[in-house]
């Protein structure tokens, strides 16, 4: 092992760069060398952008301005976020070789901040999956146990940060795809409020649910990255015209008197004893710090998975119509007619999970099924939002587990889509309601991390960071890190 980010926060790195203890170029070279040594095992990256990263680092050094906390620091970006001229595929065969002709807005913001994008993190194909096993390209491993899945769909982003390859990464979250891999790898993962971060240049899966957010080792780091990527964007009409606060502004404030709601439905059947025990202990700690904790009910929780899979699949089936082999990416080589171009390209270009969701979505939107499925799901979404509104009338935040179980073995659940879908039961309602949700490591069981989810009021990410930080500072779980062997 050459180099890693286990012992440095973004603030430490920024101080080193400012003091000239290390240059951005040196830092980037170390980072690339370490990834080369460790990623043969971990498989967190689908592709590296070494030349561009080094060029960027040199440019930042030349400018010598490290006033931005991300300047000159390497990071990883999920493979569904567009980078101008650099291959971006959504881990799908159908986009092999695709080089976007523009940057996603978050990419532009990172570039402006002086961030050094070292490569694209692996993911489930088009973000459809919870284990990063549906990637066309490779299977990423859990940083803590290489026989286990890293979670997903942002599994590459999570594994790369947990293994100390990069200090932070961006992921995207439609039904839990940032929070669940963060939980599975002992990280802080934030899905911001819908509309907080521009989706321009994010490969659309379910447009009413998708959000981009950061995965980091510490709470403060996470807030710093969210500061950099948030804000209204005229290229995304669903981004919100609100001033972006300093998300770290409440970090360090005590949580005395904070009103925390714990939904009883979040500890019901399907939740493993290990997860329940760990998260309950964490909640007792929050109470000991002065928060008041009450049991509440979110009665429609159990219908969230069904409503989500109908709405998400319907939106995805429509969004993925654009992949037809005409304008970019892969085209089936043997097609003799236009109809064959469409059908053969999509049949050869998409993997099974993507096809399954396109089929479910197309079915849900078809004339005979629309009322019983699509419309019904959208009505249940209204009821789920109502459940949250009722609780937030009296409470500051909601706390519970992020996932029903700890990470499972690679290959264990991939053949059983239904079981995999039920793993999203605790994260899905947050996307349906557009709320901010953060996962933080609540400790370890059997050597593997357990995630605790904090859910906030719309645009109140700062309170989530405040509570997460208070919890982090009494436990320091981030001091523990996986054993990573280099080659």
């Amino acid at each position: 092992m050459t180099f890693n980010y286990f012992d440095k926060t973004l603030a430490d790195l920024n101080a080193d760069l400012k003091a000239g203890k290390i240059t951005a170029e040196e830092l980037t070279k170390e980072t690339l060398a370490n990834i080369q040594a460790t990623d043969e095992d971990l498989q967190a990256f689908v592709r590296m952008h070494e030349d561009e990263a080094l060029a960027k680092a040199r440019a930042v050094d030349e400018k010598g301005d490290f006033s931005n906390p991300l300047a000159g620091i390497p990071m990883a970006i999920k493979d569904n976020i567009a980078t101008n001229g650099l291959e971006t595929t959504g881990a799908s065969h159908i986009l092999s070789g695709f080089k976007p002709v523009y940057d996603a807005t978050v990419t532009t913001k990172l570039n402006d901040a002086g961030a050094v994008i070292v490569g694209k993190a692996n993911m489930d194909e088009f973000a459809m999956g919870g284990s990063t096993e549906t990637s066309y390209y490779k299977k990423t491993k859990n940083a803590w146990d290489h026989t286990k899945v890293p979670g997903g769909s942002s599994g590459g982003s999570a594994a790369a940060v947990a293994a100390g390859q990069v200090p932070y990464a961006l992921g995207s979250d439609t039904g839990g795809s940032i929070r669940q891999p963060a939980a599975f790898n002992g990280l802080v993962g934030m899905k911001p409020t819908y509309g907080r971060v521009s989706r321009f240049g994010l490969f659309a899966m379910a447009s009413s649910l998708d959000q981009i957010g950061p995965l980091t080792r510490t709470v403060k780091d996470n807030a710093l990255v969210l500061n950099a990527i948030s804000g209204f964007d005229k290229k995304d009409s669903t981004s919100v015209e609100l001033e972006v606060p300093d998300f770290a502004e409440k970090i360090g404030q005590d949580i005395k008197g904070m009103k925390i709601a714990v939904p009883e439905e979040y500890f019901q059947e399907g939740i493993s004893d290990e997860v329940a025990t760990q998260v309950k202990a964490a909640i007792v700690q929050l109470e000991a710090m002065g928060a008041t904790v009450d049991k509440v009910s979110l009665p429609h929780t159990q219908y969230g998975v069904a409503a989500y899979y109908i709405l998400m699949s319907s939106e995805a089936s429509s969004n993925l119509q654009r992949y037809d082999g005409i304008r970019y990416g892969f085209r089936a080589p043997d097609a003799k007619s236009l109809e064959e171009v469409y059908k053969n390209t999509r049949t050869e270009g998409f993997g099974d999970e993507v096809k399954r969701r396109i089929m479910l979505g197309t079915f849900s939107l078809s004339a005979g099924a629309y009322d019983a499925f699509f419309k019904k799901a959208a009505q249940i979404r209204t009821l789920i939002i109502g459940d949250f509104n009722k609780v937030f009338a009296d409470y500051d935040l909601i706390v519970g587990p992020t996932t029903p179980t700890q990470p499972y073995g690679i290959g264990e659940e991939i053949g059983d889509p239904k079981t995999m879908y039920l793993g999203d039961v605790l994260t899905i309602p947050v996307n349906l309601a557009g709320l901010p949700g953060l996962s933080i490591n609540a400790g370890f069981n059997g050597g593997m991390p357990v995630g605790m989810q904090l859910i906030g009021k719309p645009f109140d990410e700062a309170t989530l960071y405040q509570v997460a930080y208070a919890f982090e500072q009494v436990n320091h779980f981030y001091d523990q890190h996986p054993v990573v062997e280099g080659k």
Binding site: T238, A306, Y328, T347, A378, L383
Partner: protein, 102 residues
């Protein structure tokens, strides 16, 4: 309300989605879709009389902008992404069947 999806229906949906499946794959997908649809039928338990559906949670109504043409000047870069191009256009196989080329 028990919706069961037949293999024929799945084949029809596949056609709408521009996907093709072998007979064996169709069998497999029909089984999995039936299981997922059965899970989703749980929604029928919920009384949604007079509940408005939610399709988006954005508080935005509309973002209007000036109607100004904006040329991204990226024709070459875009064409370079196309699997096949000719004469500054994207090339595809014949669109009309059974007719002589014009």
């Amino acid at each position: 309300m028990a919706t069961s999806i037949s293999k024929e229906e799945v084949a029809h949906v596949a056609d709408l989605a521009k996907l093709s499946f072998s007979d064996q794959e169709l069998e497999h997908f029909t089984g999995q879709l039936q299981e997922i649809v059965a899970m989703c039928e749980k929604m029928a338990e919920v009384d949604t009389t007079n509940v408005e559906p939610t399709f988006s949670v954005t508080p935005n109504v509309n973002h209007l902008r000036e109607d100004v043409a904006d040329n991204w000047h990226e024709k070459k870069a875009l064409l370079a992404q196309a699997p096949d191009e000719a004469a500054d256009l994207i090339k595809v196989p014949a669109i009309l069947n059974g007719e002589d080329e014009a």
